[in-house]
Amino acid sequence: MTPGNDHDISFEVLVNANKKKVFNVALNFVRHVEDAEDITQEVFIEVYRSLKGFNRQSSEATWIYRIAVNKSLDHLRRQKTQKRFGFLTSLFGESGELKHDQSHTDHPGILLENKERSRALFAAMDTLPESQKTAFILFHIEELAQKEIAEIMETSPKAVESLIQRAKAGLKLKLEKMYKRGI
């Protein structure tokens, strides 16, 4: 990157216009500020690299959202693998502990009075399949329209609607079990 270069100036504008959105999407997935910051950086590195090849079939915002979702899911997958590997190494006496355990992390943007209940929601969300979880986060937390979610997830609005319905049904079942267990 060279200061003063036209491409880099437009990239700086792009970063500043979208960084809050990207950071909050990542945060909704990982619920950890440092990890979300790291994902945000990775998203914009990816954007910088593929900016020239961006074909404008979708809007810039949708494209950036898509990268943010994919990077967040990648991060969660890596974390899961790390967790499994940590368990295996702990069997052999080596410490393979994670920096933090996602399941015990509160979302930093949640209002204080909602912390307890949101913990149950996020714990239930962690059990959902990736596509349902993505659709639910984008719809329920990011409050995006189903059409926009469909563009981000590269599917049809009908499929998004079905994913959201299934996510809600799955969450309800999980929450009922939690309620019976006394959470």
């Binding site: 990157m1 809050k20 990207v22 500020v33 930093p108 929601l121």
Partner: protein, 92 residues
């Protein structure tokens, strides 16, 4: 029902959620990581690398040529020796 009410409240618990601000130095952090991953080479270094590659190629071609010459010379020497031996044997 209490359970239904609780589930509804859990679903609503993300309402009014605060959007957090990203790092004010994000652009600088991204720039630093991009530059670290893709170090820019100066024109001089690029020319030097090109020159070195060309030099290596030339040396390689020359040594292959020389090796072929040596092979030819050795083959010719063997052939003449064989011919000499043949003549010698024949004379004997």
């Amino acid at each position: 029902m209490e359970k239904e009410k609780w589930i509804e409240e859990v679903f609503e618990s993300t309402k009014g959620m605060r959007k957090l601000e990203a790092s004010p130095f994000l652009f600088e952090q991204v720039s630093a990581r991009v530059n670290k991953q893709e170090p820019r080479l100066s024109i001089g270094i690029k020319w030097a690398m090109g020159f070195t590659a060309a030099l290596f190629l030339t040396i390689n071609i020359l040594s292959v040529g020389q090796a072929t010459d040596f092979k030819h010379q050795a083959a010719a020497k063997t052939a003449s020796q064989q011919e000499f031996n043949y003549i010698t044997v024949y004379s004997y």
